[in-house]
Symmetry: C2
Amino acid sequence: MEVVRKHAFTPQWAAQSLRIRRTHTIGFAVPNLTNGFFGQIAMTIDAHFRQARYGTLICFTAKDYRGEVESLRSLLSKDVDGIIFAPSGCGGGHFQDLPQLAEKPLVLIDNHCEGLDGWYVLHDNCYGMKLLADHLLERGSRRIAFVGGPLQESSAAERLEGYRQALRAHGLEPEEAMIRVADWDQVNGGYQATTDLLSQQRGRVDAVLYGNSQLLLGGYKAIHGLGLRMPADLAVAGFDPPYVIDSLVPRPTSLGKVEEEIGLTAARLLQELIAGGKPASGREIRIRSDLLIGGSS
Amino acid sequence: MEVVRKHAFTPQWAAQSLRIRRTHTIGFAVPNLTNGFFGQIAMTIDAHFRQARYGTLICFTAKDYRGEVESLRSLLSKDVDGIIFAPSGCGGGHFQDLPQLAEKPLVLIDNHCEGLDGWYVLHDNCYGMKLLADHLLERGSRRIAFVGGPLQESSAAERLEGYRQALRAHGLEPEEAMIRVADWDQVNGGYQATTDLLSQQRGRVDAVLYGNSQLLLGGYKAIHGLGLRMPADLAVAGFDPPYVIDSLVPRPTSLGKVEEEIGLTAARLLQELIAGGKPASGREIRIRSDLLIGGSS
DNA sequence: TTGAAAGCGCTAACAT
DNA sequence: ATGTTAGCGCTTTCAA
């Protein structure tokens, strides 16, 4: 033991893995790290697993089903002990090509994935969007438009559903003409959708709800461009808080951050699965966040 | 071979690593992934190494020297074949505790690291800041203030140096009172520094140069809050482009993106080092980007 | 309590 | 061209 300490001996990891049949590595498959959302989650996951001397192998899915299968295959080929996967709702049923996946501890986050069973950690999208819509309704908005993400992503579909439920609960019938679907990974999607919406429905809109922070940022640009004032001419709220929330004028109303909670919950769940435990929670855990009212509404 | 294909056989990675003494894994040690900058770099690196069937082990350094040493130790203990490390300029000389590091292919990015020799891929900070300062000077600004990051980060120090050189080249002597150093990882640093600067130097400042995009975002908030108009009252430019550049009003003047180029250059360099080659480039590669003039100046 | 040995799955060197 | 075997560094079992 003295000699061990003296020479700073560390077990060789490949040999150890081979013997104990554990690589002490988890895989994190994620569509992108450009906007900080998954980055924060990655940091939380890594921080959690580091304590258990696990490494985090990161892998980008390129946001198409081919890329997702390829990423998972790549993680499996590296014999990770478990996987956290953020699917992008693009086509399901193609995961049967990965028979090893069925036996691997698997936690999915952010979106549902058709034909892939595992444990889920998801935002409570419907609840959150209802919170936002209720807030707009309570402040007096009646003609609320919605700009959301592509409906094949379950998170986008659930957010739209929350919007619809909130309107109906207030005796309003959601109108298709007030709903826009856009590419919610880029600011430009929100810009286009907002410009389009406000030109078609000129004067008929008194508030806009955005499905995520990218869309809201695009919306801000469009609204500023049209010379409209928030919240006087138009009340605005978005689902998740932009990381630049502090420098936007006016500060947008949104929900609170959930990255840490999603990351930590997923990491703990995966660790329990790897240890062979039976998690007490259901197969699906929903994370809720509360309303942060800003100057935009 | 038919049987191999039929059963979709994949060599077991731990056994293979043990035998060939290569893990086919590289490590990426990075201070954070919250703002997309390192996220983009990570994606580029992973995309490059994926072709060579290498996995990317990611590791967060927590931005203090203790955390950095700990992260590198953790990567070394996993026997990665090479490391890409983004140091944060916090204290040097503590890396002697890691004797294995000396023999490991190592590429450093973004900042210099005292007492750690490896190959560097860095932004040409001095050149870039000169480009920005020259632009402001040419448009007629004479009282240009500078809000930058902590000087222990070489990138921050070099940017400040570029600012000074540009002023001197135009016959102006940089004044200490016009220079602020702030925590450039958070928007609030730029907000505080700008507020402070503009209240102390009221009327004496006609332009502000920001050391990075976080600082610039904070500056925007402060400038909007004071009711100043860009560029009429104050011309503004920042070093790197905020990822929300498209939704800021006015669009900020900044340099172009370098994430892909830094990531790809570092990845190629590391791959060559791992292969045992002698890179043709020098020990230090500088990436330049050009000026993107926006409405803020 | 301490020591010896088998074997995890693979690759490379060697023998046929 | 094909088949056989030693051994990578570790853990675990079994023996002294």
